[in-house]
């Protein structure tokens, strides 16, 4: 490690002075220079490289760094240090695809170049002639890399800069995404962990076959119709391959693939949640209205002729708002140096507020609670609509399902939900995540991340109700930017299928198969995957599970109409249906307007929340988030994990988890002993598999940092982080500040 003098962020002089000339370095490092090459993944190709490049160490005030080689491949930008890695600590949580110095190309968010002390955002035009002395890369997973190009030969520096800029920023075709070159070993032998993996994977329902849907309808006792007519995308290329609609829908083809109410989930009472895109706009206004009415009617038919509709395009921010807000928000975490950090710390709360990101999260959760209230309390059908019907509809419908159905709070259930709503449901991942660096900014938006953020809020408020941990959510949010998984690469089911068929790399090997993200063994070994599980998850007790297996008691519809209040409308409703369809229509319309009515849905959901709050805790029942100001928080793990100033050594949630693990393992050991004794005594083998807690081993280190398992504190001497610039931070201008401490402080003159 070389010290290159100090360079404060504000200094006007060159930001660093080298006491070692590049030549010296070269002569020092010459012999082993070309030996270090990245371990290429199967199918990965190196584009260009440069040496020596100085990578600044982030966790330091001084401008120090490590020399090494920078590579650009078709998968990533990678930096390989010249230093021999000091006794490589066996990382417990190592990603097999990319390490701490690797940036997958699609993970690059922005590149900045420093030209004569001025930081400029690199866009196409700047690439041509000059190359910067320093290159700063902001990643979508919020890492920040700073590379110094000064020590490199001019042509090398130019080449690597242009190479990286080209491959990371230029618009490209889907074919160039690494997934299509990646030749990952589909069957990495038959080791045990892999078999377990396969089992796990099979548990995630992919919703790519009619059986999956039938199963899901059976599970929720849905009384709807499975559509298989779109199997070859004859109805619409925007629609899922298979989907479920209300029974009352007649001619599918008249819908032209738009404005079809699609079933999401059925409540045990029989009412259900549907989502729809807008009906096609035709010349005649009446047509649109008529279509809307048929749509609402069809949904109302599902149960009790009641329906509430909610147009999410009206009541929630649109995808551009979401994008803008997130762009502001993430800036607070892309910290380049300590000075910036402490400066931004001062105005932290108001900057957070001005980004509006937390407010968008709150609005989404609020809307989801409103939907839940309709289903759970009023037992009405709900139809949520949106222009495209594949963005906020999914956020709201998925959230509502998580709140209502404990199955979706298990890891497999959650993955199945993402498959069902997002992947099979045709969320335009490719456009929204902007994997191809398209110039058209209209369609980029972190909608899926917004959903994960909302889930995180639920997880942090009701952690025992979730089988998965926040680490799982963080890893999932990162995986969106790993261009290997078919899950996040396409805009629709049709898109996926057509590309996969066409893009088979070798004609003889059949259609291309990318792994899905749920095959976690591609990224992590089974030990690391234990971090995905929440040790505090309160699992259902055994005997209940046994009952639940064949059919969930919650979904026994016959038993679930206890309240007399609902019996009358039931009969009346059916009766009215036979006789007076006009009146029914009016009623539906009235109801549908209720949801957006000015008599404040917020107030009624408040009441709904409060009455729920008074009930005894049931982690396997309904779950509602608290939405008051202080309850909606920043996802610390995701956003603060790379900021050294934020590391708490020996603290953070890891400290708690470690201790909990210890307690739980004690419990388990004891139970094992008990069971062994039982069997040996009575020669009777207990067949119930007892509660399995996946135990994490954190290694011997008793003092992990709060950023564990993501960033590791390397060789950091155990020193506190003392804030700088406290002086500016608090300017109390009123007269109180200058007042004497003691009101009666005359005594101090004595």
């Amino acid at each position: 490690m070389l010290s290159l003098g100090s360079g404060g962020a504000k200094s006007t002089k060159p930001s660093f002075v080298s006491y070692v000339t590049p030549e010296e370095i070269k002569s020092e490092k010459d012999p082993p220079k070309k030996e270090k090459l990245p371990d290429l993944l199967p199918g990965e190709v190196e584009f260009c490289s440069a040496n020596p490049i100085l990578k600044y160490t982030q966790d330091d005030l001084s401008q120090r760094g490590v020399f090494g080689t920078l590579f650009c491949t078709n998968f990533r930008v990678t930096f390989i240090s010249d230093e021999t890695p000091q006794e490589k600590k066996a990382k417990t949580f190592k990603n097999k695809l990319y390490g701490e110095n690797d940036i997958p190309l699609v993970c690059v968010d922005h590149i900045y170049g420093v030209y004569d002390e001025k930081r400029k955002l690199i866009t196409g035009g700047l690439v041509k002639n000059k190359y910067p002395s320093k290159m700063i890369i902001h990643c979508k997973d919020l890492r920040v890399f700073q590379f110094c190009l000064r020590f490199t030969k001019e042509e090398d520096a130019k080449k690597i800069f242009q190479g990286i800029a080209h491959h990371c920023l230029e618009e490209k075709s889907l074919k160039c995404v690494f997934a299509f070159s990646y030749m990952g070993t589909p069957s990495p032998g038959t080791d045990l962990s892999f078999c377990r993996e396969m089992q796990r994977k099979q548990e995630t329902i992919m919703f790519d076959s009619p059986e999956d849907w039938t199963q899901e309808m059976k599970r929720t006792k849905a009384n709807c119709r499975l559509v298989i007519e779109n199997k070859n995308f004859e109805l619409s290329q925007r629609l899922p391959k298979y989907f479920v609609i209300p029974l009352a829908i007649g001619d599918l083809f008249s819908y032209q693939g738009k404005g079809l109410p699609i079933w999401c989930w059925s409540h045990y009472s029989g009412c259900a949640l549907f989502k729809a895109s807008f009906p096609p706009v035709t010349q005649e206004d009446g047509d649109f209205q008529k279509h809307l009415e048929t749509m609402i009617n069809a949904v109302a038919h599902n149960y009790l002729y009641s329906v509430k509709t909610e147009d999410l395009s009206e009541s929630l921010p649109n995808i551009q708002d979401i994008q803008q807000s997130y762009n502001k928000f993430k800036q607070f975490f892309l910290i380049e140096n300590s000075t910036d950090f402490w400066l931004s710390d001062v105005k932290w709360f108001s900057s957070l507020e001005s980004s509006g990101w937390l407010d968008i999260i709150r609005q989404c959760l609020q809307k989801a609670v409103e939907v839940v209230e309709c289903l759970e309390k009023d037992n009405t059908n709900v139809l949520i609509t949106e222009e495209e019907g594949t963005d906020l509809c999914y956020v709201i419908s998925s959230l509502a399902q998580i709140m209502l159905d404990p199955y979706y709070r298990t890891l497999m259930g959650f993955q199945s939900l993402v498959q069902k709503e997002w992947v099979a449901g045709c969320h335009a991942f490719l456009d929204r995540c902007n994997h191809l660096h398209q110039k058209d900014k209209e369609c980029h938006s972190p909608v899926f991340l917004l959903f994960l953020e909302c889930v995180w809020q639920l997880v942090q408020q009701h952690s025992p109700a979730f089988q998965f941990s926040e680490t799982y959510l963080t890893v999932l949010s990162d995986s969106v930017h790993v261009p290997i998984f078919s899950t996040f690469l396409f805009n629709s089911a049709h898109h996926r299928e057509s590309v996969m068929k066409a893009e088979s790399p070798l004609a003889q090997s059949g259609p291309l198969s990318c792994p899905t993200v749920w095959d976690w063994s591609v990224q992590f070994d089974s030990k690391a995957q234990n971090f995905f599980y929440n040790p505090l998850y309160s699992e259902k007790v055994k005997h209940e599970k046994a009952v639940r297996k064949p059919h969930k008691p919650k979904h026994q519809r016959q038993l679930s109409l206890p309240s007399t209040a609902f019996k009358t409308p039931l009969k009346k409703g059916f009766f009215k249906d036979e006789t007076d369809s006009l009146k029914k229509m009016l009623r539906v319309k009235r109801l549908s307007r209720w949801m957006g009515s000015p008599d404040s849905p917020a107030a009624t959901t408040r009441e709904f929340y409060e009455s729920w709050q008074h009930r005894p805790v049931d982690y396997h029942g309904l779950l509602l988030p608290c939405l008051d100001g202080p309850a909606v928080r920043v996802w610390m793990q995701r956003y603060l994990r790379w900021i050294p100033e934020m590391y708490i050594l020996g603290g953070g949630s890891v400290a708690m988890t470690t201790k909990l693990m210890e307690l739980l393992s004690q419990v388990q050991d004891l139970k094992r002993v008990l069971e062994q004794r039982d069997t040996s005594q009575a020669a009777k083998i207990d067949h119930h598999p007892y509660l399995q807690h996946r135990l994490l081993s954190f290694g011997s280190s008793g003092r992990l940092s709060s950023s564990f398992p993501f960033a590791y504190t390397r060789n950091r001497s155990f020193k506190p982080i003392i804030p700088t610039g406290l002086m500016q931070s608090l300017m109390v201008t009123d007269s109180l500040a200058s007042q004497e401490d003691e009101a009666s402080s005359v005594a101090s003159f004595v």
Binding site: V541, Q613, G650, M656, L691, K719, A737, E742
Partner: protein
């Protein structure tokens, strides 16, 4: 949380209150008083006021609504508006624990009956009415005597004192030289009592530099004091200079001494006008002066007032964050923690002795020293250790609790009131958040301390100094809060506690990691309450562990039996029907 605790505490004292003056106001029907709840609207019920607490109950609601608060928590009782035509009187109670209450009732016809208002005024502010605080009436007996928790000599002995460099001085044995300091003072051996006497007159209020804590290995010391009386003319005191030099010399590891002045430098300089000031680097060679920029008690009081406005009763959702920022409360917390962190860093990493002072050395100084001590010494992170820390740094060194809290005093505008101690407890809470396994106590312990800071049920936080407490015979005539706490420790234990004896904690002070203590400041808002109180979950986990340990013992016993009589056959296993262990937390 507090409601439970209050009712328990009040339950203990019921026998006593019956004997002493108890005023009950019931105005015929129990439905005559309306409590105007900001969260659920008006509630009708009966109101009872005793000489210790106020008790409101409404039984025809589901769930039963109750309100129970010690009168000590009241800072202000006032009538709202004139009596209406219907003869209703309405009055508001402003509480020290972040809430306001409002009651409405009919003016009693019977003029002989005292109005609730008068009774409240009388018993909420006994000091203003020349009555004694309820703590002096309370005679509950607990199995443990909390007044014995802190023995200064035993505590210094734990630190290895006296040793070859530090001695105990009896110079303030009868509080003649400094009435706000404790009797036992530790000073460098090289300083004579005669020299000390001269230092007393040079430091504000006679609060001379004395030892607070010493590092067990490096011998670096944390020393506390008040400001030197330098004045505009730059007065010097050669004994004071010698004392500081001696403090530095007592630590062989470093040839430097750090003086942390808690104030912003502007304020420190302004104090020169009033005779105070700070150590000049000319006079104190080898000493480096650092200002920690922590504001005074008035700024803190104002900040808390703003905070209360923002959180009670309603939280404005759309501007929550900027409102929170505008109170500056967390910024103050950050500055205090940052100051303590710098002190702890100098002592631990720099192996340097430090002197900490502010103006009088009884507000910001105990905040800083006690936080630094918590970071440095794991003993202070245990329940008993924390009690000792409070007894030592806050009570014996004369934090003016009576003035800062205003026990039983109706003068709510008193400029001497300030939430300094609350702020310190908040800082501790922030640390327990960052190091969830490093503290033996839980959040409920901290909240209990704060509730009884105001309740006046226990004698612990009464008076302004050790000398006053002895004069008032507080230890003899009242019960210590620690008697109550230590008699039911299981309530206050953090089940996740791991005792790492040598770990120093360096918290992160960035505001991104600081949180508003919602479960304290916003606990009256029912919506912010978790469905299941946190400490309830902890208790369950503890119970689980106890159950587990019992089973282990059972097993071992049985195993022992088996080896003893291996051939004998037992009929049934007592543990056969054990249900699988669940995690509830």
């Amino acid at each position: 949380l507090s409601r439970r605790c209050c009712s328990r505490a009040a339950g203990c004292c019921r026998g006593q209150t019956a004997k002493s003056a108890q005023c009950r106001w019931n105005a015929g029907s129990p439905k005559d008083v309306t409590y105007i709840c900001p969260f659920i609207g008006p509630v009708r019920g009966s109101l009872t006021v005793t000489n210790y607490r106020l008790f409101f109950r409404c039984t025809d609601r589901e769930p039963v609504f109750g309100l129970d608060l010690p009168l000590g928590a009241l800072s202000r009782v006032e009538k709202i508006g004139a009596a209406t035509s219907r003869g209703d009187v309405s009055y508001g109670l402003v509480c020290k624990d972040m809430r306001n209450l409002r009651f409405v009732h009919k003016e009693p016809e019977d003029s002989l009956k005292k109005s609730v208002f008068e009774v409240l005024i009388k018993f909420a502010f006994p000091v203003s009415n020349n009555m004694s605080l309820f703590a002096f009436e309370y005679k509950q007996v607990f199995p443990e005597n909390g007044w014995k928790v802190y023995d200064p000599l035993a505590e210094y002995k734990r630190q290895g004192l006296p040793n070859e460099s530090w001695r105990i001085s009896k110079v303030n044995d009868h509080y003649e030289l400094c009435d706000s300091y404790p009797a036992a003072l530790f000073v460098p051996v090289t300083i004579t009592d005669e020299e000390l006497r001269r230092v007393f007159s040079f430091r504000a209020k006679g609060r001379i530099p004395v030892l607070s804590w010493i590092h067990p290995e490096s011998q670096a010391a944390v020393v506390r004091a008040s400001q030197p009386m330098v004045g505009q003319n730059g007065r010097r005191c050669k004994e004071d200079e010698k004392l500081l030099q001696a403090i530095m010399d007592a630590n062989a590891q470093s040839h430097k001494l750090f003086i942390f002045d808690a104030r912003p430098s502007v304020n420190a300089a302004a104090n020169k006008m009033k005779g105070g000031g700070y150590e000049s680097e000319d006079a104190y060679q080898n000493a480096e002066l650092v200002f920690l920029d922590i504001h005074n008690i008035h700024v803190m009081r104002e900040s808390l007032r703003k905070l209360k406005e923002v959180v009670y009763p309603n939280i404005e959702e759309s501007h929550w964050l900027s409102n929170l920022e505008s109170t500056h409360w967390l910024e103050h917390i950050k500055l205090i923690l940052a100051g303590a962190l710098r002190i702890a860093d100098k002592v631990e990493s720099g192996k340097t002795s430090v002197v900490v002072h502010c103006s009088d050395g009884w507000d910001r100084t105990p905040q800083l020293t006690s936080l630094a001590l918590i970071m440095l010494d794991s003993h202070y992170r245990t329940i008993r250790g924390f009690q000792i820390l409070l007894e030592k740094e806050w009570l014996s060194f004369g934090h003016r609790f009576q003035q800062r809290v205003g026990h039983g005093d109706r003068n709510h505008t008193d400029a001497d009131r300030s939430p300094i101690f609350l702020q310190f407890i908040d800082c501790v809470w922030q640390m327990t958040r960052q190091f969830p396994a490093a503290f033996e106590f839980n959040e409920y312990f901290l909240i209990t301390i704060l509730d009884h800071l105001y309740s006046c049920l226990f004698g612990t936080f009464l008076c302004n100094s050790e000398q006053q407490r002895l004069k008032e015979e507080v230890p003899k005539r009242t019960v210590s809060l620690w008697s109550f706490v230590n008699s039911q420790l299981e309530e206050f234990v953090n089940p996740l506690y791991v005792h790492y004896p040598s770990h120093v904690l360096f918290p992160t002070v960035g505001i991104r990691h600081l949180q508003l203590w919602v479960t304290y400041y916003i606990r009256w808002n029912p919506r912010m309450r978790p469905q299941e109180p946190v400490h309830q979950r902890y208790k369950e986990l503890l119970a689980k562990r106890a159950e587990l340990q019992k089973r282990v013992e059972e097993l071992q016993r049985e195993a022992a039996n088996r080896t003893a009589s291996s051939s004998s056959e037992r009929a049934g296993s007592p543990t056969r029907s054990i249900t699988p262990v669940q995690t509830f937390v």
